[in-house]
Symmetry: C2
Subunit: 342 residues, 2 copies
C-alpha cells in the first residue's frame, strides 16, 4: 500500500486541531494528541493514529464525551476510584495514571481505577509517560467477554490488555503492552490478510475445534496464554478493573445504556526510589537487562523494539502514513474546517 511521509509537527498539529474541532478543550486535546503520538511512535500501524478517524466519528456521533467530568467515587488512602462520565479513554487513562503517580508520591504505591470510560488505544502511552517521570507503572483494561477459558469455546471474559514500564539507564525503558489471549484481534486479522496460519493452541473455530486458521479463530474463540495460567491472571485483571472501579463485570450491561463490555481501567504506580533511590533503582534495572543480554546475545527485551521505532521516527522528524489514512484525516479536516496535512 502506498504511503506518504508526514512530519511529526504536522501530524501532531492536525491531531490536536481535529480533536479541538471535535469539542475537546485545549488541555484535553493536548493530552489526547500526546497519547496518539506516543502510540504512533511504536511503529506498529494499529492502535495508534490509525484509530483517530474512529475517535472523531465517535465524538461526532455523541457516543463519547470530549470533556468528561471525571469525579471521584471513593477513596481509601492510596486507593481511589472514579466515574469516567463516558469520556474518551485516552483522557480517562491518562487521568488515572497521573493520579496513581500522585498517590505513589504520597504512599509509595497508588492504585486508581475508573469506570464508564472507553478504549484507550494501547497501554504504552500511559506507562511510558509515568516511567519517564521515574515510576514503575502498570495499567490494565477490562472489556466485553471475548476470550474463552482453557479449551472452552464459550467466551467468558475479556483479554485483560495490560502494560507496564520500568525506567532504566539503557536506551529503552523495560516496557510491555499485550493482552492475555495468545493473539489480539489485530494480530489475527494481520495473519489472515497475509494468508498465514497460526499455532492451533491460539484458539478454537466456531465449532469449538482447535484451528490454525486465524480467520476461523476470529469467528470462533481466542484462548488465554498458558491455558489456566493466562485465564487466572485475566480474572485478577477483571477484579482490579471492573470491581474496584465499581463498573461492569463480565457480560453485565451498564445501567441506563444497557451496553455490555464498557471498559474500566486501573493504573498502579510504584515510587521505587522511595526504597532505593532513583539512581540506584535505574542502575539495578539496567544491570538486570545487561545480565539477561549477557546470557543470551541479541536477546530482545520488552520495550526495545518500540524504543528503536520511536527513536527512528523522532530522529527522522517524520513518519510514513498509509495514503488511505492521510485521505481520511484530510476528509475530517475538510468536515471540521481544519488545514489538511501538508
Amino acid at each position: 500500500m502506498a504511503s506518504l511521509s508526514i512530519t511529526l509537527t504536522e501530524l501532531e498539529r492536525i491531531t490536536n486541531q481535529l480533536l479541538q474541532a471535535s469539542g475537546l478543550n485545549e488541555e484535553n486535546a493536548a493530552v489526547v494528541a500526546d497519547v496518539f503520538m506516543r502510540a504512533t511512535y511504536r511503529g506498529v500501524n494499529h492502535h495508534d493514529v490509525n484509530e483517530l478517524p474512529g475517535r472523531l466519528a465517535g465524538l461526532a456521533a455523541g457516543k463519547v464525551k470530549a470533556n468528561p467530568s471525571i469525579t471521584r467515587i471513593n477513596k481509601y488512602g492510596a486507593l481511589e476510584n472514579y466515574e469516567g462520565d463516558n469520556g474518551l479513554g485516552e483522557l480517562c487513562g491518562m487521568f488515572i495514571m497521573r493520579r496513581a503517580e500522585q498517590l505513589a508520591d504520597e504512599h509509595g504505591i497508588g492504585l486508581c481505577a475508573i469506570r464508564n470510560t472507553h478504549h484507550l488505544l494501547a497501554s504504552t502511552p500511559y506507562v511510558e509517560a509515568a516511567a519517564e517521570r521515574g515510576y514503575i507503572s502498570y495499567i490494565v483494561t477490562r472489556g466485553a467477554p471475548t476470550m474463552g477459558a482453557p479449551g472452552r469455546k464459550e467466551k467468558v471474559i475479556g483479554t485483560s490488555p495490560m502494560g507496564y514500564a520500568i525506567p532504566t539507564d539503557k536506551e529503552y525503558h523495560l516496557m510491555f503492552d499485550a493482552c492475555l489471549a495468545y493473539a489480539s484481534n489485530g494480530v489475527l486479522a494481520e495473519k489472515a490478510a497475509a494468508g498465514e496460519s497460526v499455532p492451533s493452541y491460539w484458539g478454537l473455530d466456531s465449532q469449538g475445534r482447535p484451528s490454525e486458521d486465524p480467520a476461523a479463530i476470529s469467528k470462533g474463540t481466542r484462548l488465554p496464554v498458558g491455558a489456566h495460567k493466562g485465564f487466572g491472571l485475566t480474572i485478577l485483571g477483571e477484579v482490579i478493573t471492573g470491581i474496584l472501579a465499581e463498573g461492569q463485570i463480565i457480560d453485565e450491561p451498564q445501567a441506563g445504556s444497557g451496553l455490555v463490555g464498557m471498559p474500566s481501567h486501573t493504573a498502579i504506580c510504584i515510587k521505587a526510589d522511595g526504597l532505593l533511590g532513583q539512581r540506584q533503582f535505574r542502575q539495578r534495572t539496567t544491570e538486570m537487562a545487561d545480565r539477561m543480554e549477557a546470557r543470551a546475545a541479541g536477546l530482545q527485551l520488552p520495550g526495545q523494539r518500540s524504543a528503536r521505532s520511536r527513536n527512528q521516527i523522532i530522529g527522522a522528524g517524520a513518519i510514513e502514513l498509509k495514503e488511505e489514512l492521510v485521505a481520511k484525516l484530510n476528509e475530517w479536516s475538510g468536515k471540521l474546517g481544519i488545514e489538511p496535512l501538508s
Copy 2:
C-alpha cells in the same frame, strides 16, 4: 504406591514438633506448620508436606535459619523491604504477607518485599490466609534463571512463581498459584514418570530444539507462556522482587555466600473494602464467578479444585500420605526424639 491414612491432628502435631525440635521457637513452628497444612490441603502431592523432610535436612545442615531476625531495610509509606536473614521461606513469606495486610489497612494497598530468604513451598498458603482476612492478596517469588526467552535455549530468568487470592461468598476463594513457564519442573517430572508427551511449545531440548519429551525439556530449557507475553510478565516479577527487595537479580551471586538464585519474595495486599465495603466486594466477586459459570456450564475457576480438595480433606479429618513420606517423617521423628506418626 501404597499410602497410609493420617489424621490431620497427627500430621499437624508431628510437623509442629519436628520443626520445634529442629530449632524453631513455638510461634515460628506454628506459622510454618500452618503453611505446610494449607499447602497439603491442596491435594497436589508436591510443594506440601512432602517437602518437610527437605526442610528439616536444611535446618539440620545449618543452611537455613529457624528463627531469623527479619529486619527492615527501607520504608516509604506503603512500600517496605526487609532482610530475611537467611530464614525459612515459610516464615519470610508469611511475615511479608502480614506486613502487606497491615500496610493495606493503613494505606489501602501495601507492598512488602524480602531478600535473603528461601523457597516458600507454594503461593497458596500466603494468599489464602490473607483472603480469609478479606484482602485481595498477591505474592511473587524470584529465583535462579531457569527459563528461556521466547525461542531461546539460554536460561535468562526465573519463572516468577506467583499466586493471588480474592475473597468471594462462594464455597471457594478465587485463587491462583502458578509460575509463568508453561510447565513447572514438578509437572515435567510427573509427565516424564507417566511416560506422557507434552506440547512442543512448552520447551526446548538441550540442543535448543522444540521437544515433546518432558525429560528432554527438563534437561533443556522451559519456555514462558505466550512467548513474549509470559517473558515480559516475568521481568516485572523480577523487578518487584529482586530489585525492590534489594536482593539478587538474574544470575547475580549473593555477596558473601556466592550463591546464585537466592529467592526474594514480594507480597501485595489491597483492602478492597476500603473502596466498596467488604460485603459489596464479595457480592461482586461472587457475581463475577457466577456470570462466567452461567456462560460456560461446568467451568473450572481458579481456586475451585483446591477448595474441593481442602473441604474433602478437612471433612474427612485425615489425609492419605505416601508410605515413603510417612517413613521419612518417622525417621526424622526418631532422630529428633519425637513421637512417630500414629
